[in-house]
């Protein structure tokens, strides 16, 4: 399976991945529309900034996905490509997955809202948008 990997050496902390993630998940066709009001909605990827080191973290689509196994509603499942995806119509926002994910890769979608996570942009594009728009190859999408 192709996965998203991180080269922290090259991460610039520009946070563009987060914005492209939001845009990708929004299914909007015009970039700014995904950010109505200017506030950044939660993204499926997050750039860590710690003592001058930056890197992006998103779902590892683990072999042993504790989020999926802990999900109370069955909203999390693997798609054909192996990506762990959320069915937003089934998710009740209980946050058990957030409690279970060892990487902190799942974020709250807000009260009563489905959670957000990386879905490898399965429905939009072949290459995840965070990878496609990383200016410095700090995130790559490669076979294991």
């Amino acid at each position: 399976m192709k996965r998203v990997y991180v080269n922290e050496e090259w991460c610039l902390g520009c946070h563009l991945c987060e914005y492209w993630c939001v845009f990708s998940a929004s299914k909007e066709t015009h970039f700014p529309f995904a950010f109505d009001g200017g506030a950044k909605p939660p993204a499926g990827i997050r750039v860590e900034d710690y003592k001058g080191i930056n890197f992006a973290v998103n779902c590892r689509h683990c072999e042993d996905p504790l989020c999926l196994k802990g999900c109370i509603s069955g909203a999390l499942s693997r798609d054909e490509s192996g990506a762990v995806c959320v069915d937003k119509t089934k998710c009740v926002g209980c946050h058990t997955c957030i409690a279970m994910c060892p990487y902190g890769a799942i974020v709250s979608g807000g009260d009563n809202m489905p959670i957000k996570k990386c879905q490898l942009c399965a429905s939009r594009d072949h290459v995840p948008q965070c990878v496609a728009h990383c200016p410095n190859n700090a995130i790559v999408f490669e076979e294991e």
Binding site: V6, E8, Y50, V57, L66, K69, I72, S73, G104, V107
Partner: protein
């Protein structure tokens, strides 16, 4: 190979998914007294609340049983287990098995109280059938009495909040969520719920019921239209117990059994009989011993482990721990582990975070309100990560992988 699974909860699904990874051929038969295919039990409060619907509640897709070639015997409870001859009896018929999984779950405990039998609209709150029955009886004018301020009781309160007129919660304990909160955090939840109009009678219990009222030990009288009892559950161990399987007895709490005893791979003391989920005990890494951990993530993981063990897949010792997450009318909590050792609290305007450290390990935490990436902390508890090896101050400020050290980050994120 004939696999038989008793019970239709998520442990059962975990087992089916694991078995089918290893064995595409063997027959799988699932017996259940319920008439629905698997759903997440905690969803029933969300159902009442209107956050989900019956058609969305299926734990797996419509064709799950068909795709996995499983015979699902709905409404067919198993009444007897003959471990010696490897047979189970259901609906008067006997069925052979080669490997059996007992995933019978637990049943609500209703304390014997005078007058309870007189109550017309009385319910427990554990199954979808409970929710569907309650739904019919509750209207905007209903007064609802909930006995039990634990997770189930409060989730019931949340579920009914938009539907009912008045909700009162009674509990013997002096605080809400006594099993998953400490006193200070309990108070935050209680205050929040009281702010929403829910009434609490704590440190008290029902002395006697009439048809539409309860008289409390403290003397108060509470009128209700609908009574929900949710003081706790008892593991369903009878089948295994009767067949001679070892179950752990618990004397001091009054419960006859804490659960079916299994090894790390969920095997019971009976040959070819496995058990998983609420009817069993789990190894709680934060106490270093087994105990009942009736939470859904564990049920799935144990079912999966059992399924692997039954079908020759990979098995290993999992570290389990209590993890609870959920909202109470807009206020979310996530808790994990045990609340032992030194507590550190970080409060902000919108959050209350408390961490428990003992023996250079994070043992547990309580997070209320806003939080992020707490799974990183759960993982530390699960893995017994030494506090000294991480930037703990940063972690409790805001969980991040970098605070666990770049070696770890590279190991998990780099190719």
């Amino acid at each position: 190979m004939k696999y038989v699974i008793i019970g239709n909860g998520v442990a059962s699904v975990g087992a089916i998914e694991a078995i089918r990874k290893n064995d595409k051929e063997g027959s799988i038969t699932v017996f259940t007294d319920e008439t629905y295919s698997c759903y997440g039990r905690p969803l029933i409060s969300y159902y009442l609340e209107g956050k989900t619907t019956l058609d969305k509640m299926g734990y797996r897709g419509e064709n799950f049983y068909k795709e996995n070639n499983v015979s699902l015997m709905l409404g067919r409870p198993v009444t007897k287990l003959d471990a010696e001859n490897k047979k189970v009896t259901a609906g008067g018929k006997k069925y052979d098995y080669d490997k059996l999984l007992v995933a019978t779950g637990s049943s609500p405990f209703v304390p014997p109280t005078p007058g309870y039998e007189k109550v017309k609209n009385k319910f427990t709150f554990i199954r979808l059938s409970d929710a569907l029955a309650i739904e019919k009886k509750v209207t905007k004018k209903s007064k609802v009495l909930i006995v039990g301020a634990g997770l189930t009781g409060l989730k019931a309160a949340e579920g009914l909040y938009p539907r009912a007129g008045k909700i009162t919660v009674v509990d013997m304990a002096d605080r809400v969520l006594p099993a998953v909160m400490d006193a200070e955090s309990s108070a935050i939840i209680q205050k929040h719920l009281e702010g929403k109009g829910i009434k609490f009678c704590l440190n008290d219990s029902v002395r006697e019921y009439s048809e539409t009222a309860a008289t409390l030990a403290g003397g108060a009288k509470i009128d209700f239209d609908v009574l929900i009892t949710s003081v706790g559950v008892r593991p369903n161990v009878a089948l295994v117990q009767d067949a001679g399987g070892v179950c752990e007895r618990m004397t001091e709490s009054g419960r006859p059994f804490r659960g079916i005893v299994t090894d790390d791979n969920q095997k019971t003391s009976l040959d070819d009989v496995y058990a998983a989920g609420d009817c069993t005990l789990s190894y709680d890494v934060t106490i270093g011993n087994t105990r009942p951990l009736a939470i859904q993530p564990n049920a799935y993981l144990q079912g999966e482990m059992a399924g692997n063990a039954m079908s020759g897949g990979i098995t290993f010792k999992r570290n389990y721990l209590p993890v609870n997450a959920g909202g109470f009318i807009g206020l979310h909590i996530i808790t994990a582990g045990s609340y032992v050792g030194e507590a550190t609290t970080v409060r902000t305007e919108n959050s209350f975070h408390r961490f428990f450290v003992k023996d250079n390990r994070l043992m547990g935490f309580i997070q209320i309100g806003e939080y992020s990436r707490v799974g990183i902390l759960t993982d530390m508890i699960r893995k017994c990560t030494p506090i000294g090896s991480v930037d703990f101050q940063e972690l409790i400020r805001e969980p991040k992988l970098a605070a666990l050290g770049m070696d770890y980050v590279k190991a998990v994120l780099n190719k």
